[in-house]
Amino acid sequence: MNVPMLVDFQPLLPDLVLLVGALWLLILDLLMPHGRKRLMAGGAIVTLLAAAAATWLYDPIGTVWGGAYLGTGLAVFLKRLFYVGGAVAVLGARTHVNEAYARRQGEYYLTMLFSILGMSLLTGARDLILLVVAFELMSIPLYVLTAFPRDDKRATEGAVKLYLVGAASSATLLFGLSLLFGLAHDTSILAIATHVQAHPSPLALVGAAMVIGGLGFKIGIFPFHMWVPDAYEGGHTPFIVFLSALPKIAGFTVFIQLLLARNGALATMALAPLLVLSVTTLIAGNFLALRQSNVKRLLAFSGVSHVGFLMLALLTRSELGLGMLLFYGVGYVFTNMGAFLVVHAVKNGGGGDDSIASFDGLVRRNGWLAAAMLAFLLSLAGIPFMVGFWAKLFVFLAVWEAGFYGLVVFGASISVLALFYYLRVVRAMFMNPPANEAVIDVDPVTNTAIVLCLLAVVGIGLYPGPLYDAARVAAVGFIGN
């Protein structure tokens, strides 16, 4: 009998680093005097960066737990995104967390780290059991984090809502998965996909539909998106920075694992619902964003529409499409985090109530914030020399190659519509007179986080080559297995 050695866990080494780091922080949090707890953020960032470094230092390709976890190029790519994105989110939240929950801040980062650990495990989960466990490991900390501002009625209300709808959707997902398990008599995703491919049955379709519905909640597909704007509006913005970006990509990771296995067996079976959902998501997200007067709600709906674009990439079921989905994911994470960080900085610096009107004349109150926000909005709108442009272009290229010509025309047209509401914010920032001339101050830590997002958005926007190549390489060989 083989005794598992540490070396057998090599593909999970980054996750182990993360776990050890998180546990170490847990102990440290208990021992640390209150006055020094602001160092916890640094600990979390070091842990995340160490985990990211581990993906480079060790070869995380291979199989663990008898195939339940499969380290692939895709898993490594996504892990890096989650770790680096998570580190930026921690950095962006640090000042706020230090001010708002000085005594509990250790818990905040711990919870966040465990959520990221869940995402990290999802990247290679090839077995339903691991998939569900990792999925809940990612989700439950999110409910906790939403309720973190205990005294804020809106935040707790939002957390309860999020939890209720989340539980319903998890139940749906599990129901769907158990139907699939019942058909294939196996918890391995590959076995299920193979079975479904060989014996398509109406029951399998029901299972797939329930999986899509359940996951659709997590990533905010229309009509399962309704919690998104409420949660964003009610939640504390530094947390929304995290919630709006990484869990969505984690949800897509599950989609990728389930739907694209074995040449996209399940996705092919459920192609029509997926197609309709992506189109309706694009329409609803963009049209609902048009009349929002709150920037956070506007960004929430814009996020819904971006999910629609990611769905388009998923529909291709091709290696190119998967690669471009990854590229889009990176662009989305940093653009969106940057935009929410600016929203946070404006409000925190005395700039009002998150309404579009509170951005009036921002260029006069803090030119740097206005310029950064402009870059993020242009990236979200898909204007050249920002990462968002390449993301859209590449997704369209992949969708076109997959033969969905109409979808490209539709997607491109709707992205023009999107300009309309992004420009409303731009106009407020640059053209409207400010409500008052008071300068908006931003603390250096939050500023650093914004700079990092901006560097990613503009840097990749100017020279997308390396990320493009990396995303394509990461996708190679995944679909066929």
């Binding site: 379709l205 242009l378 309309f420 106009r427």
Partner: protein
Amino acid sequence: MRTLDLALISVFAPLIIAVLLIIVAPLRRAGRAAAALSVGGAFASVFASVALTLARLADNRVPEIFETTWLPEAGKSAATIGLQIDGISAPMLAVVSIVAFCVQVFSLEYMADENDEDYGRYFTWHSLFLFSMQALVVAPNILQLFCAWELVGLCSYLLIGFYYKKPSAARAALKAFWVTKFADLGLLIGLIVQYAAVGTFGWDAETVAKLGALGVVPVAVAALYFLAVMGKSAQFPLHVWLPDAMEGPTPVSALLHAATMVAAGVYLIVRAYPIFQAAPQVMVAMSVIGGVTAVFAAIVAIGQNDIKRVLAYSTCSQLGYMVAALGAGSLFGGYFHLGTHAFFKAMLFLSAGSVIHAVHSNDLSHMGGLSKKMKWTTLTFSVGSLALAGFPGLSGFFSKDQILESLWEGTHRDPLFWIPFLACLATVGITAYYMSRVVFLAFFGKLGEHAHHAHEGGIAMRLPLLILLVPTVIGGLFGGQFLGLLALPEVEFHLTHVTPVGVVALVLAFGGIGLGYVLNMTPAGAGLASATAPVAAFIEYGAVDRFWLGAYNLLMMALSRVFAWLDRYVVDGMLNGIGAGALTAGEWLRRFQTGRATDYVYVVMLGVVGLTIWSQFAALVGGSR
């Protein structure tokens, strides 16, 4: 200096200045210093661009392309970024930078009333615009061109909306951005189609040969590219944004809406001409649309009383000329007219700016008799108008002749070319009329109510006008050299080449000028009024005035009004309607956001049930797969 160095200077000098001004806020807020830097950057660009053009004139054998991999893909390159210097891009670099330089110098004084911060901001956007335009011109492939194209659109948004405190300006900026952005979809989808079909973004012979072998694909690609051209170069019916864009500062109109940005669409056709040539159907459609735009915009221009709007419609009309010629297969005619038009139209706009600066009004009825007050501006505006009307010897005459010739030749090949040919021929007469109308109303006759205190601007406003006067007058004489740059051995250019078409055009031009004189100067209105003086005596002066105005409207402006109405309410209204419909749909959808958690759970469940039922239904209908 090496070609690469010159090209880099011509493109990046303005960018360096723009970035400097964006980052170093105190410099930008200093106003004057920012302006000086910006003008300096533009001058460096002029120097390098002119040097490049001279070098191309000396030796135009091989295009020099400096490029590097932009999108590496598995060891090879999916797309490049770089500079393509050849006979097509070098003269365009020179035209763009010279006009931009003149406009910036003019703005030094024209914008002097702005506070320091706005003044600095204005020049920052100008530098950024110049960079984007030059990057567009030197683009070695359609992908880089598209990126620069979008950046140009963004700068246009910023510059049109410069007077952002004026709601109409902010609205116009948004409208321009939206209309062109919609048209840009064509470019985006077109380049996706091209890349999917042949695997490159280029316009070289090899790519075009591959594309040409694919049947309907080149037609689709060319048609999609042309959609973007229609937006950027204000071709009917997507021209609606251009007249509104006149809300921006007048020097901006001179730069963007006369010489450079709107010409970018025409430049795209010139640059990607091989692709268009692979799609003859698109070429014919292009020519017809160009012709229709030319005559339509010219007719609307007759009835405009805002001096800038006359020039805006005139620009539409002239761009229609270029597109019509390019569609008829005359690369030289279309591109040559782009060059000559850039100079004289920029000069006309700057002269108009000089007038507006002096009388503080755009309205022609407030001007009149300005020739007594503003000699230099009268000279430049009149010469510009003559060039536009096609007066023999001036630059516009030669390029317009080329266009009409090429359309005439086109009618031998395909009867459809009669449409653009006749339209453009008629436009010659109409253009001559409406320009002479403006000249007579603004500069001659009795002194207008706002004109009493008018005076010529300072040296910063006069110098650019005089610089632009040179190419306006003698630019046409260099048609041969220009032709040499394009390397078109089959085309000939003669300065003294009399053709029947040319004679007809000349007659029409003089007829138009004469009509303008008769109707506005003698004026026919006054003559008729004296003949009917007894009747007038019974009616108060205002009524007679209104009557004549009404008669004039009926006779001369009815057609113009109809077109203007169509323009405003039908074409424009359709676009506005789409926008309003979008907002209504958004309102309707918003009702579903109730904020109650149970509702959301119901919806999730309902969605899942719906998906399930539907998937079952689909399985039933589709049978067991």
